[in-house]
């Protein structure tokens, strides 16, 4: 038995085939790993994007605010009193004011609590007891009598439109 093994080891005729096979296997494994990692990365990114999109949609679905009342506290200051009756915080991203036909430009808007404290980041909390606030809109000029709409655009992408009379 020993002489036969020794002869086999001494004989170099099949070594190249073995090495080539090993190299081939190594290359296949390496490429396979790369493909698996790439595929995993792709699926992870896809999942992440999908989750993010779903989370945004869910958040948007749960955003709920309504107008309690809206009136001029001064001739050029319009207060729109809101309540967040949804399950998530609502951040007010933008406010538009319009009459039946046109948008009405104004200076600025800010969110305040009913106790007249400024609300940071214009967010109406969903926690009970902290749900109400008002948007103070500083107008360029006094609104004439008529019907107006206030459009509240949230950071979540929802748009709430309320009609009021002056």
């Amino acid at each position: 038995m020993k002489p036969r093994v020794q002869n086999l080891l001494k004989s170099g005729r099949a070594v190249s085939a073995v090495i080539s096979n090993l190299i081939l296997i190594a290359a296949v494994i390496a490429v396979g790993f790369v493909v698996v990692v790439w595929a995993q990365n792709q699926s992870y990114n896809y999942n992440k994007q999908y989750s993010s999109a779903i989370a945004i949609d869910i958040n948007q679905l749960q955003e709920r605010i309504t107008l309690e009342t809206c009136y001029n506290s001064t001739p050029t200051t319009l207060n729109a009193y809101l309540i967040n009756y949804g399950k998530v915080n609502v951040t007010i991203f933008n406010v538009y004011l319009s009459n039946q036909t046109d948008l009405i430009p104004f200076n600025t808007f800010n969110l305040f609590t009913f106790q007249n404290q400024p609300v940071p980041s214009n967010t109406l909390n969903a926690t009970i007891g902290m749900r109400e606030g008002y948007v103070r809109i500083l107008l360029l000029k006094q609104l004439s009598s008529g019907t107006y709409s206030i459009h509240i655009i949230t950071a979540g992408g929802s748009a709430f439109v309320f009609t009021f009379y002056v």
């Binding site: 296997i25 296949v28 396979g32 698996v36 595929a39 995993q40 699926s43 896809y46 999942n47 999908y50 989750s51 779903i54 949609d57 869910i58 679905l61 749960q62 709920r64 605010i65 309504t66 309690e68 009342t69 009136y71 001029n72 009193y81 309540i83 009756y85 949804g86 399950k87 009913f114 009970i128 749900r131 109400e132």
Partner: protein, 349 residues
Amino acid sequence: MCSLSTSKKARKKLIANSRGFSSIVGAVFAVLVMISLMSTVFVWSLSENTSYNNTVTQTRQADLDRSNEKIVANVTCTRVDNNLVAVNGNLSNNGPLSVQIVTLWVVDYDTTTYSNKSLSITLQPGNITFLPSPKYNVPLPNLQGDIYNFWFITARGNLISVNPIFAASTASTAPPYFNANVTQGIGSVSMDFNKFNHYEFSSSPDGYDLNSYTVTNKNYTLTAKKFLVLHIVLTDLDPDPSQPNIMLNGLTALYFLGATSSGQSSSVKWGYWKSLNVTSDRIVHLGWNVQYSLIWGQPTDIYFYASGGQNGDSDWPNGLYPMNIMVFGTKGNNDYGQNIPFVSVYMTT
């Protein structure tokens, strides 16, 4: 036989030959990896879709709950002083869900001044909550004679307006102490003099539809020889709305105490009337001794008919007659009686 042996040989050769085996194993692994990745993505998507669908369902349910809120606000708003208004009455939950009232808004239309008050009232289905004064007084700069409006906000974001029946009282400028003094002094039951009227018939009005009656502006002018049905509107304005409703018994009577007329000698005349059964479609039924329930703050129509068919004597001289409307019934477990003496009618023949 020959082909069978050839096939066996080929199979043995295939099994013995290990070339290609790695490809199969590789392919199997590749398929497993792909299945694993795909199933991960699929399960992930499924769970995300499930949570989205759950949110949609919850949101729809919340919207449905919101639309099912039914609160009736039998409430009045009256002036206390230059800086305060009082909101009194009751809120009843007629819907299937419990409702939380979070804010009360009051506006003075004349000065366009707004004010709000935070509330925390939870109403179970079917419950009634009383809003006694001065707990629900709202600071609001105002003037005598101003007109107010008010509404409530629920935690579900609904706006509850006052019951239209109370719209007139909302516009009332009478301060609450006026109502309180009057009702404590002369009784809880108030009559709306603007809605006093009567119907005259040449024959018995049994089965008559009052809707088809041509209304005149001679509400306080009665004809002596006619068959008369009188209509009054009574409201219980007890200062304490939590008191039980007044049940007026059928023997509600109406008297003419005396007669004073120009050129006629004064004489004491009287007529005895009973409350009358007029159904909600205003058909006269000559069923007497009808009970009327006066719900607090809710104006109630009451009809009278002369006990003898026609209104007593036909020889009543023309002239002005004071008239007393006496009501008698129960309030909870106690008797309740009141005389409303401020009515005058002009009798013609």
